[in-house]
């Protein structure tokens, strides 16, 4: 019987995964990964409840269950990365790093060391072979609306060979119905938030506890006129419209930041060039299945996803280029970059976010927006 270590978060997706794996005859050990347990201002960390939910389901299914403590590693490899990126004025995605560094690295390694044949998680994604290939590759989920490959594109090829995504070929409503049918306590549980440990609303409060703030001016990009003040430029993201507190009238959009001068630039012009792009530079590339930036140029119908759940956008051409100096301590990736060109200008995503590339169902990997 194949041995599987299943990451159980206490949510409905990983709980249903547990039932599926058990029914398929796997020897399943449920593992709660304890990554974060601190309460934050305005937010009670739900880890104890999540752990209780996960364990309760595991016990209900008579599975072995363990808690693996990754708090130190998570702080170092996810939170510190995130804070460093924010301090550089960028908008990082901690979920992507959590998957790369914790779930599909530490969890994977530890599971393999314990004799696992596979690890599994409740992500909406699939692993399979394409076009007679012998190795397995990361594929988009059947439920296009829930596809989570955007967060998974940095998981290693090695881990991909030994990973199961049991709900990847189900639709979310089917998963919920399945949970209810199997009388899982978590069937009606509310969906967890995007970022593992802190919701989008909580990010400002989170940053406030970790980053020294320097108040400064908010200026209109076109005129240089001071229209307000900010608590810290790190709080502002390109394209941001809400939370600027600049009074009534037409909304302002953040169109730039000057971290040295500590100025946030805003504009009322939705067509401001900073908000749009017809090319995007990607750095910290993580291309899957041994592909090189050159390989990408061969792919017809190359598509990119610029935000989780955002529609796929066609890429006109991709052009490899050597990076000048991307000494990102957080990435082991080669010093390669890629420039994506688009036929139509796209809304420019914030630097630090991920761009994930696809050819049909296959997730080709991606990079961080420079």
């Amino acid at each position: 019987m194949s041995k599987v270590f299943l990451g159980m978060s206490g949510g409905v997706d990983s709980s249903v995964s547990a039932v599926l794996l058990k029914n398929q005859g796997y020897d399943v050990t449920g593992v709660y990964m304890k990554n974060w347990s601190e309460d934050l201002p305005g937010m009670k960390c739900p880890w104890a409840d999540d752990l209780a939910d996960a364990k309760s389901v595991a016990v209900q299914l008579d599975l072995d269950f363990e808690v693996w403590d990754f708090e130190a590693a998570y702080k170092q490899q996810v939170v510190d990365y995130m804070l460093a990126e924010f301090k550089k004025g960028r908008t990082p995605n901690p979920d992507v790093m959590c998957n790369e560094r914790i779930k599909f690295k530490l969890f994977y390694d530890q599971a393999m060391a314990r004799g696992a044949d596979y690890i599994a998680t409740g992500h909406y994604a699939r692993v399979g072979t394409q076009n007679d290939a012998t190795c397995k590759t990361l594929l988009r989920a059947v439920d296009e609306n829930k596809d989570q490959t955007y967060f998974l594109y940095r998981m290693s090829d090695l881990a991909t060979q030994h990973t199961l995504f049991p709900v990847g070929d189900m639709l979310k409503p089917e998963v919920k119905a399945f949970a209810a049918e199997h009388a899982l306590d978590v069937a009606t549980k509310k969906e967890s938030m995007g970022v593992c440990f802190v919701g989008e609303v909580g990010m400002q409060d989170f940053l406030r506890t970790y980053i020294d703030l320097r108040p400064g001016e908010i200026r209109v990009a076109e005129t240089g006129a001071v229209v307000g003040f900010h608590e810290g430029a790190v709080f502002y993201t390109l394209g941001q419209r809400h939370g600027l507190h600049l009074g009534g009238g037409l909304p302002y959009y953040v169109v730039g930041k000057d971290l040295d001068a500590n100025i946030v630039y805003v504009s009322r012009d939705l067509n401001h060039p900073a908000l749009w792009a017809d090319t995007l530079d990607l750095e910290d590339l993580h291309l899957r299945d041994g592909r090189t930036p050159e390989d990408l140029t061969q792919i017809r119908d190359l598509k990119v996803r610029l935000r989780h759940r955002a529609p796929l956008v066609g890429v006109a051409t991709s052009c490899p280029k050597k990076s000048i100096a991307t000494s990102n301590q957080w990435s082991e990736s080669r010093n390669e970059m890629v420039t994506l060109r688009f036929d139509q200008p796209i809304k420019r995503p914030a630097p630090g976010q991920s761009a994930v590339l696809y050819a049909g169902e296959i997730c080709l990997g991606g990079g961080i927006i420079a």
Binding site: M1, S2, N23, Q24, G25, Y26, D27, K34, A48, D49, L51, A52, K55, S56, V59, Q60, D62, D64, F65, E66, V67, W68, D69, M112, A113, R114, G115, D117, T129, T134, C135, K136, L158, Q161, H162
Partner: protein, 465 residues
């Protein structure tokens, strides 16, 4: 009691239901007698009178007067208020409730050891009673073990120390506080007989509502308010009085006091049945060399031990509240039992409710010398007014089944499980060949540990179902 009938509730140390009579006594003070007891008009003064009378009745259950009580929002607040009597150093036992330990940690303090029975080590107490010590806090009955401490003896020791200090011209006072939260419905509490200066009471553990507690304060003790405001409760606990809760507290405490003898007897009877049944469960002896405590849940992959033992009851029956049955099933994960039992309608806990679901191990069980795997295998059953003898027989049977199930599961894991049934769908062949083609992962570091799996597979099937 509605709803409760679908459960067998064996966690009375965590919370007790409020009886209909107590609810009835409280209700008028939410609606028609809602007045602020500090207001000057007659209806409000009647509320004041009812409130003071309730305090008197409550105080009488512990041999005190109403004016000696400071009403608080619960035992934790009472304890924190009590600790304001500490000016230099506190002595507390190592098995105190988290509220006492945390309050003690806010200043100079020392922990006093307990014996394996959970009873405080009096020699250690004596040794630590240096002239800096001005505050001692020892619970009357422990919240995980039910261990009853020899408070009268402790207060005799403290009296001697006070005398000795006087003789030497040392003027440091020595205040004695006890947390009696768990004890009211089972022990006859009398502050004079116990010799305590401060005593914490909790309504929620004796059939009263949650959110109200009391601190008995003897006349000579100087406390500092931790809640400032309108000066209620002698200025020590400002805030409009929680009249309905105080009325409910008094009614519950009086009922508990007047029924304590019969309640004790009832608990003893049930405890005997349950202990006998649990003692009859045959379980494998723990491994000689248990694995180190690597994750929160100890896992067990050592060789199967064939020696058969009985579960181990914790604490010492001679010094224990009759409602408490703390028991250790070495080698298994008691938290799993909690979930399995809950699925069958039996509500129990692994220890203090505030700590139990946080994955932290019990400091109480560690203090009485349990190993990490013994702590992980410990369950706290606490009996109470909702239980009947019939329920206990039922619970004993189910508990036995679930304990045996868990041990069988562990044994199964040690033998390496084989498919549950031939029909169950299994990983497909194609997946397996993929794995062979991409066999690029590192060698299993843990392969030494999984030696049993080789044995199982060489037996080629159908040993374990």
């Amino acid at each position: 009691m509605p709803e409760l009938s679908k459960y067998i509730y064996l966690d009375h140390a965590a919370a007790t239901p409020v009886s209909d009579a107590v609810v009835r006594a409280m209700l008028p003070y939410f609606t028609q007698d809602f007045f602020n007891p500090s207001a000057p008009y007659r209806p409000a003064r009647q509320v004041r009178a009812a409130y003071e009378a309730a305090k008197d009745r409550l105080a009488h259950t512990i041999g005190a007067k109403g004016v000696d009580l400071i009403m608080t929002a619960g035992a934790t607040e009472s304890i924190n208020l009590a600790f304001t009597a500490r000016r230099s150093r506190a002595l507390v036992s190592s098995i105190e409730h988290a509220a006492v330990l945390s309050a003690a940690s806010a200043g100079d303090h020392l922990l006093v050891k307990v014996k394996p029975s959970g009873v405080i080590c009096l020699d250690d107490l004596r040794n630590k009673l240096s002239d800096e010590v001005d505050f001692v806090s020892i619970s009357l009955a422990n919240n995980e073990l039910g261990t009853i401490q020899p408070l009268a003896e402790i207060s005799r020791i403290l009296r001697e120390v006070r005398q000795d200090r006087l003789a030497r011209g040392v003027t440091t006072p020595l205040t004695f506080h006890t947390d009696a939260s768990q004890a009211l419905s089972l022990i006859d509490i009398n502050v004079a007989r116990l010799g305590v200066d401060l005593l914490t009471l909790n309504a929620a553990k004796c059939g009263g509502p949650k959110g109200i507690g009391a601190l008995y304060v003897s006349h000579h003790v100087q406390l500092q308010p931790i809640t400032l405001g309108g000066g209620q409760e002698r200025g020590l606990r400002s805030g409009t009085e929680n009249v309905p809760a105080a009325i409910g507290f008094a009614a519950a405490a009086e009922h508990a006091k007047s029924h304590s003898a019969s309640h004790r007897k009832h608990c003893q009877t049930m405890s005997q049945i349950l202990r006998q049944a649990i003692g009859g469960i045959k379980i494998p002896a723990p491994n000689r060399n248990p694995e180190p405590y690597t994750s929160i849940i100890a896992h067990n992959t050592e060789k199967v031990n064939t020696e058969i033992i009985s579960p181990r009851f914790l604490g010492d029956l001679k010094h224990q509240l009759s409602s408490f049955i703390p028991v250790c099933f070495p080698g298994i994960d008691a938290e799993r039992l909690v979930y399995r039992l809950a699925n069958r309608g039996i509500l129990v806990s692994t220890g203090a409710a505030c700590a139990a679901n946080k994955g932290s191990k019990s400091h109480v069980l560690a203090a009485i010398g349990l190993s990490d795997s013994e702590i992980a295998g410990s369950l706290r059953l606490s009996l109470g007014s909702t239980n009947t003898v019939e329920q206990i027989h039922q619970a004993a049977q189910i508990l036995r089944e679930e304990v045996e199930h868990e041990y069988a599961r562990i044994r199964g894991a040690q033998h390496q499980k084989l498919p549950l049934s031939r029909n169950s769908s299994r990983p497909t062949g194609s997946e397996r060949s993929d794995q062979a083609a991409c066999n690029d992962r590192p060698a299993r570091a843990g392969s030494g540990k999984t030696a049993v799996s080789d044995v199982a597979s060489s037996n080629s099937g159908n040993i374990y179902v």
